[in-house]
Amino acid sequence: MIVRVSGEGQYRLPDEDEERLNELDNRAVAAVEQGDETGFHELWSQMLELVASDGNALDEDELVESDVILPPRDISFAEAQGEFTGEGLIPDG
């Protein structure tokens, strides 16, 4: 699966990571809904870490669409409230 970190670039991740990413995504939504800023930032770092550790940066001349677009790394909690809602970045189902 192809993941873009907004403002940075695209990464190719093994498909198995989708489930893990989705789980973190759902927990991030829960944290945002509870107004838990610290918890959210912790989960957000974990999501970025997963992309960094498992992902391979795409060549700059590759022209492919991303399956998932993550917001910018330095997203604020206020911005996160517009991002991590409902089913999160990665809809379930």
């Binding site: 907004s6 991002e83 409902g86």
Partner: protein, 253 residues
């Protein structure tokens, strides 16, 4: 493929589809698409240039504030050596305000600089992708039938479009940020225009609005500390005068 949620995804997707909507005929899409990409790249460059301009403006303002801080400090010392503690206090209050503004300004300039670097990096990536698209379009034109070409074109165009939209969004974000900074910088300018940082020796005896405002800004404790320090320095002339003498309140000449 999973669907996409989140505002960033949605905005990026809608930007791409708007870009792709503009052309219908495949062979036209290719040349038109490329031409459009090159055009948009110019916008990206302009966007980055705007961020740089805003940054420079903030830097200039920061230099000006630095000078004010030095000036007010000197004035406070002068006032104190002439036994005018009231004026010294007023100068130090202004200095504290200027310093606080300076700190936040400097932090914002640093943030903006990081953003500028990232934007420049992304613009480079975008240029690479556009160049890849240019190569690819010639291959597509030469090798594929119309129906097949349509699929390949939309893949390639989406790839470029996503990068384009993402850079566009990053620029927008940087611009929003500089807007906030400008608003803040404007507030400092207003204080300046109102004479907040002016020569304190020109202040009349009456407490004006600025003084009241300054007092509210809670410069209090810091000003007391600094005043005590200055007094110690000026008073004893010796190196090891005590920094604070809180209770001391004789109306010294």
């Amino acid at each position: 493929m999973p669907g996409l949620g989140g505002r960033f995804s949605t905005v990026i997707k809608s930007k791409i589809s708007r870009m792709l909507d503009r052309a219908e005929d495949p062979s036209e899409t290719l040349d038109y698409g490329y031409q459009k990409q090159v055009e948009l790249l110019q916008n990206v460059k302009k966007g980055i240039a705007d961020v740089v301009t805003s940054k420079k403006r903030l830097q200039m303002q920061s230099t000006k504030l630095e000078q004010q801080v030095v000036k007010l400090d000197t004035q406070a010392r002068q006032a104190l050596s002439q036994g005018r503690e009231d004026l010294a206090r007023a100068a130090l209050e202004r200095k504290t305000v200027a310093q606080t503004e300076l700190q936040s300004l400097d932090q914002q300039v640093t943030e903006l600089e990081a953003q500028q670097d990232q934007l420049t990096e992304n613009e480079k990536k975008l240029r690479t992708k556009i160049e890849a698209f240019r190569t690819k379009k010639e291959v597509i034109k030469a090798q594929y039938s119309a129906a097949e070409a349509q699929v390949r074109i939309s893949e390639a165009a989406t790839g470029v479009g996503e990068q384009m939209a993402d850079v566009g969004l990053a620029i927008q974000r940087a611009e929003d940020k500089t807007e906030q900074m400008k608003a803040r910088a404007g507030a400092v300018e207003e204080l300046e225009a109102a004479g907040t940082f002016d020569d304190i020796t020109q202040l009349g005896p009456a407490q004006d609005d600025i003084d009241r405002e300054l007092a509210q800004l809670g410069a209090g404790a810091q000003v007391d500390d600094e005043l005590a320090k200055m007094k110690a320095e000026l008073g004893s002339g010796g190196g090891d005068a005590p920094a604070l003498e809180k209770g001391e309140k004789e109306g010294s000449a």
